[in-house]
């Protein structure tokens, strides 16, 4: 599926760190839309082995801020054509997405999100408990009487799931065929900067397989972002917490929509293979590790059983974690930085998979033109210095 390159060249026009969905999408659009094919994508491990392969594959655009809604809506549009674009089946499946509200204040946030969404042409609506019961008859709306019952939901018809590995493979193969070099097991050791009076600028990178000269470096990693930023002398608000997930044994299809409950801290969908794919809140403290915990499996299972008690005999077959780049406002950090030639696609916390296509589009534009794409201006690196945050916490799938 991919060309294996024996050695690195001594120079590339663009070097991308991270061969996940985001990095490979940027490489793909650089080659396809901007004619830049002298590109190397480096990964310390293997293609799609980071958070691209560790998320719960939910795609939606029912965000809260205008910046967020416009950005994710463009992503959903791109998603729908990707299988055609790649000639590869992504199993993109539009399911509809219910964000359950268990309190009056949650209902108020759902109405707010629905209004912002509709204003930008995104299909979202606040619905009552009866509508939820009709759509998902097997759900116990009383939550077993253990907590606040389901009062209603934000229903987002375009909500979808996709085969996450195939996204990385599709972008990778498309980039590879256009001349981009993908180098797996190639670790970034340092970034070489020069300052000729106008501030630091990227001139090259050092890797475990040799030095590369380049004037454009895109950092598209997750979990390791603070380490890469330290190499170019930048500080950021990004802090790392693990996010865990798990899947059940395969079941006959019974759950069509994607279900999220902020009060119960869970989200669940049923994959094309019949497995229930489940996630919950972030781990409660900083950790640079992808270890799993029994606490997580226990608490997620307990909460899921409040909604779906009949799952009590279903077994969990896999559990894993990814390292999430958290930001104070739950929005990403994208675009140019104070270091000339150093571009950032980071801060993707727990919300990065759905943004893969639009990140590739906007970052390739930003790298090719050395100018931030209009859709990412609300996510700029310097927004914190101006106290101009893009508050998306209200649209996080669960209360992290």
């Amino acid at each position: 599926m991919f060309t294996r390159h024996e050695r690195l060249k001594s120079a590339y026009d663009v070097v991308i760190i991270g061969a996940g969905g985001h990095g490979l999408a940027a490489a793909y659009y650089l080659a396809r839309d901007h004619g830049m094919t002298d590109v190397a994508v480096l990964d310390q491990s293997y293609i799609g082995g980071g958070n691209t392969g560790r998320n719960t594959t939910i795609i939606r655009s029912n965000y809260l801020t205008p910046d967020g809604v416009k950005f994710y809506d463009e992503s959903v549009r791109l998603w729908r054509d990707l299988s055609q674009d790649f000639d590869l089946n992504l199993f993109y499946s539009t399911r509809g997405h219910f964000t359950l509200a268990h309190t009056d204040s949650a209902m108020r946030t759902m109405r707010w999100r629905a209004e912002v969404n509709k204003h930008f042409g995104v299909q979202s609506e606040a619905v009552d408990a009866k509508t939820v019961a009709e759509a998902i008859p097997m759900m116990d709306l009383s939550c077993g009487g253990h907590g606040p019952p389901v009062l209603g939901a934000l229903y987002h018809a375009p909500g979808a799931i996709a085969r996450h590995d195939a996204v990385a493979w599709g972008y990778g193969r498309g980039a590879d065929r256009r001349g981009v070099e993908i180098h797996q097991e190639t670790q970034l050791l340092g970034v070489e900067l020069e300052d000729h009076g106008s501030g630091p600028a990227v001139v090259g990178v050092r890797t475990n397989r040799g030095r590369i000269a380049t004037r454009k470096l895109l950092c598209a990693v997750a979990g390791s972002t603070p380490g890469v930023l330290a190499m170019v002398g930048l500080r950021s608000p990004i802090h790392i917490h693990p996010l865990q997930a798990m899947v059940s044994e395969p079941l006959k299809p019974w759950l069509d929509p994607i279900i999220v409950s902020g009060s119960l801290h869970i989200y669940v969908s049923q994959s094309a293979r019949g497995e229930l794919v489940m996630g919950a809140s972030l781990d409660p403290y900083e950790l640079h590790s992808t270890r799993s915990t029994l606490d997580f499996a226990e608490s997620l299972s307990a909460h899921l059983l409040e909604l779906f008690p009949f799952l009590s005999d279903v077994r969990i077959v896999r559990q894993w974690a990814g390292m999430a780049d958290m930001t104070p406002d739950f929005a990403p950090i994208m675009g140019k930085t104070p270091v000339q030639g150093f571009y950032l696609d980071s801060g993707w916390g727990t919300w990065g998979f759905k943004a893969t296509p639009v990140c590739g589009k906007t970052m390739s534009y930003t790298v090719a033109n050395d100018q931030d794409h209009p859709l990412i201006r609300g996510f700029a690196f310097d927004r914190f210095a101006h106290y101009a945050l893009t508050g998306e916490k209200g649209a996080a799938s669960v209360g992290h």
Binding site: P226, R235, I238, I240, F384
Partner: protein, 89 residues
Amino acid sequence: MKILTCPINGPRPITEFAYGGELREMPDPARATDAEWTDYVFNRNSVPSTKCEWWCHTSSGVWFIAVRDTASDVTLRTFLYARSAGGAP
């Protein structure tokens, strides 16, 4: 179950504790530049390392310092902040 040692209550399950973030020096608000203050408000050091962190034993309300390796999740020691004041942690 992971165990953390509270300086007052001894070893307890990690679920009894709340994480309070890295121990950091607040710059003098009257004298800090805007850049220094912004750096203090928002920026964090999140490169894997051994850090001094605030933790709270929520059942008893005891705040204390833990010296923890954020890559291995091994806590080297815990102590009360007041008793360490003036000395190296």
